[in-house]
Symmetry: C2
Subunit: 291 residues, 2 copies
């Protein structure tokens, strides 16, 4: 009988292998070998640096060259030397190439759409997929400083507010709290950092500058699918590093009693509890850390 964890894992593995295989096969339907199709798709997804594509697809430089020549002969791509370093070449899609790329995208998208559409609980399926993708891709998280008004940041914040509303006694309305001004979370006053996993923002934290001799940590959030991976701590480290670089010596934060994991993290990482320092209605705990 095959019910132990490893058997379940491998059942999953078989299921996705055949799904992946089927997609590869459908890609061949456009009459181009898979290698060329993969290069075309890498270029279409914005990888313009030949070395980056080679690295991403794990190709030999000779093979890569030949695949590029093939795509060039089909008039799907154009290469030219890099302006900054003429040894390198950059590559971009032609109009014809963009059309071909769009056709490949449509194949992938249709597959995804069909599978989601026929599932009774697409949200649950997507949550499961996020969890698996974060688990498989955990070596590939990137920390990026972004504008708090960017899409990635807004996505994180929106999820964060939803979660607060769910967890706080009596819910949470962002309007009743002191919503930080975006300019306070952009250098040189502050910073806003997101963790990305292959294009999906799965966590964020804000460093909000004030004129009171300290900066505040705000909006620490990790997607449910990525919890327990130590990302919150790494985000906090990144925020502290940003603060040091901006010459900020003292950090403060406030938090609600419902956010127990966060409170435990603060206590473990050198924060000390202090008296209430604002009149925001939501927080129950107040912390300070000197850098």
């Amino acid at each position: 009988m095959t019910l132990d964890p490893i058997a379940r894992f491998r059942r999953f593995s078989r299921a996705v292998t055949s799904e992946v295989g089927a997609l590869d096969h459908s890609f061949l339907g456009r009459g181009r070998p898979l290698g060329s199709a993969r290069v075309l798709n890498a270029i279409g997804h914005g990888r313009g640096d030949i070395a980056a594509i080679r690295d991403y697809l794990g190709l030999d430089s000779g093979l890569m060259s030949r695949l590029l020549r093939g795509l060039e002969e089909e008039h799907l791509i154009e290469t030219r030397p890099d302006a900054a370093d003429a040894r390198r070449r950059v590559v971009a899609l032609t109009g014809k190439g963009r059309a071909e790329f769009a056709a490949y995208e449509a194949l992938s998208n249709n597959r995804a759409e069909a599978l989601l559409a026929r599932h009774p609980r697409p949200e649950a399926l997507l949550d499961a997929m996020d969890l698996v993708a974060s688990a498989l891709g955990r070596d590939r998280f990137t920390f990026e400083t972004v504008d708090p008004r960017s899409d990635a940041a807004r996505h994180g914040l929106a999820r964060y507010y939803v979660e607060l509303d769910r967890r706080f006694d009596g819910g949470f309305e962002v309007g009743r709290s002191a919503d930080p001004d975006a300019m306070d979370m952009i250098a040189p006053r502050g910073s806003f950092i997101v963790v990305m996993s292959d294009g999906l923002p799965i966590g964020c934290v804000g460093l909000k500058g004030t004129d009171k001799g300290y900066a505040e940590i705000k909006r620490l959030w990790i997607a449910p699918s990525a919890r327990g991976l130590g990302l919150a701590r790494r985000l906090m480290d990144a925020a502290e590093a940003a603060a040091r670089q901006l010459g900020i010596a003292t950090l403060r934060l406030d938090t609600n009693k419902a956010l127990t994991e966060a409170i435990a993290l603060y206590r473990k990482t050198g924060w000390t509890e202090i008296d209430r320092f604002n009149d925001d209605p939501y927080p129950d705990f107040f912390f300070e850390k000197r850098l």
Copy 2:
């Protein structure tokens, strides 16, 4: 920004593609081309019919033949004509082949184990994987009549009891209920049917024969990862078909008020509510259906 459902799906797809690719690559470490390794693994997993392997792996018959010859030359497999139809050949691992297969299995298992071990919530990860695997494999569910004492059946029943205990007011103890005798759920008195998805039992139902002029439907269960796919209904249909074949004309069942989806299903599929017909402490509703 890439946050719509399709983008999330495709992020998942990329993550598992690179995982699958990495596993393929590790398979090459044993010095055998991937094609041969895949055939060897298919045989090791019990596929002894050449046509079945060819079909499963999508191989041309010529290519398949050559791969088999190669494995035969390595003394990993043995083929002989099928006793029933001498055109067909059946294939089996030799002792050396079993050792080699075990080595491949270890590669897969170690990979699975390592990934599960470093995850903070392996149970949540496995649940997510089950959900995804059921969604991807939904064309490949099989309904099998099994002995209620088999591993597959016992797995389903164990999960069923856990769920009842969670959902019933005051919990559920199997000992307090009239646990059906296994012989009553085996032909010719009754039947026990499981839904399998690629080796994993994800649902079950029992048809329990009695000496009172009717048979009872018992233990209808669907794994959380496979709900909403219409499997409960298909299981009930299968149970009814089994009853007809056994010459049973009347079916009864009892159920608890907490199992709302089941009750809705019974009402929708021709069952009529009747008076209590037993003194089991758990059920609140009683149904009958004439075939």
